[in-house]
């Protein structure tokens, strides 16, 4: 435990520390909203499935293991171009402080071909889903993704999304809505956001990456992000924002997602996650 958390630069208060050698640690699948029938669920949410505990085993070389243990959380898309999957952890906050999300991650396509396959994973990313405690406040959703590849091009750049999608009703009772905030439209490039991540030489060799994301719950603004050796100033980057919703006060959700650029499953692995706060 001590060794495991020492690889993080956490703030004063550890809100949660999720080492997937201990289990799922509260990470589950993001199910879409519905009313009366599952048919009322937005089609892009229908595809989501449950995350897995993976030892990163491969057909040619056996088990890889995680950063410093056996298991990582695995988020896996379906083998259809453009498919995505999302895992979520649902909390609330007790102090509107600065918070820091850190995690170690890697990604690979399913190794169904004896090819490098470095452009098969479209993206990996993360988001917060937050809501102010005041009725006059907002629901705020900072979204960040690493666009690895798009239409076969090895793009390798960080993007954000600030445009809120259309909110549509679910069912007829007037109590439930949906919005596909992870749809493929409206992603924008982070300034100076190109970054070459270590992918290695075949689809079954895996290297882990570090990510840190700082956000201020008081002002509801992004601050800074670090991925491996690169630091990105996010102080001018806007988050998706919409009027507060009636059942989401002090919500603090974390989500991790991946998309595939080909008809292969994208595999997004998370060694561990540390969420900390300045209180």
């Amino acid at each position: 435990m001590e060794t495991s958390i020492n690889k993080y630069d956490s703030l004063k208060r550890i809100i949660s520390f999720d080492d997937f050698d201990r289990g799922f640690c509260g990470w589950g699948q993001l199910v879409g909203n519905y009313e009366q029938s599952l048919d009322s669920m937005n089609a892009n949410y229908q595809q989501h499935t449950h995350p897995q505990l993976s030892n990163l085993s491969h057909w040619d070389s056996g088990s890889h293991g995680s950063w410093d243990g056996t298991y990582a959380l695995k988020i896996q898309t379906r083998p259809i171009t453009g498919s995505r999957n999302v895992s979520v952890k649902r909390l609330t906050f007790r102090k509107a402080s600065r918070i820091r999300l850190e995690f170690y991650f890697t990604f690979k396509p399913e190794a169904t071909e004896l090819l490098l396959s470095e452009t098969d994973v479209r993206s990996v990313g993360f988001l917060f889903d937050l809501q102010d405690p005041q009725e006059s406040g907002n629901r705020v959703m900072p979204h960040i993704r690493f666009l690895n590849a798009e239409n076969g091009e090895h793009v390798q750049k960080w993007q954000f999304k600030r445009k809120a999608p259309e909110v549509t009703p679910v069912g007829t009772d007037g109590k439930t809505i949906t919005h596909d905030h992870l749809a493929s439209e409206d992603w924008e490039d982070l300034p100076n956001g190109h970054q070459k991540l270590c992918y290695n030489e075949i689809p079954t060799k895996v290297n882990w990456h570090y990510l840190r994301f700082d956000f201020d719950l008081a002002s509801m603004h992004m601050k800074e992000m670090q991925c491996n050796d690169r630091i990105f100033d996010l102080s001018q980057i806007e988050s998706m924002k919409m009027p507060a919703m009636r059942n989401l006060w002090c919500m603090l959700n974390l989500a991790l997602f991946t998309e595939t650029d080909t008809n292969k499953r994208s595999l997004y692995y998370i060694d561990s996650v540390c969420l900390s706060g300045d209180f």
């Binding site: 599952l38 449950h50 897995q52 505990l53 993976s54 085993s57 057909w59 896996q76 190794a111």
Partner: protein
């Protein structure tokens, strides 16, 4: 530490026709599993159609474990099967005949 016990919904509101199967689920950490398969609407012509439990050495290539169970023939009926030895991956498949279909909710329940 207490053992892990989880429920993974691996197919939700999916209509099975022809050869159908769940997405690969990695579960080498678990020591036992039960598969539940519920029909979400009235199945069409699935009398005698078997679902199969499949194992895999790599999550890509699949073999028939020999474990099988009859698909539910009525809406909301639940078919199930225990599995005690399964390596690192599981999936559920069924070869649904022409002019037959079933809308399924499939969940895996693990203890490890």
């Amino acid at each position: 530490m207490l053992p892990i016990s989880i429920t993974a919904v691996i197919a939700r509101n999916e209509t099975w026709q022809n050869f159908s199967y769940t997405e690969p689920y990695e579960c080498g950490w678990a020591r036992e599993a039960i598969v539940y398969l519920r029909a979400l609407s009235q199945p069409i012509n699935v009398d005698g159609v078997q679902a199969h439990i499949e194992y895999s050495p790599d999550g890509i290539n699949w073999v028939d474990s020999g474990l099988k169970f009859q698909l539910p023939t009525q809406v909301d009926e639940i078919a199930w099967i225990p599995i005690t030895h399964f390596g690192n991956w599981l999936r559920v498949s069924a070869d649904v005949p022409k002019n037959s279909s079933i809308c399924v909710l499939v969940s895996l329940h693990f203890k490890g």
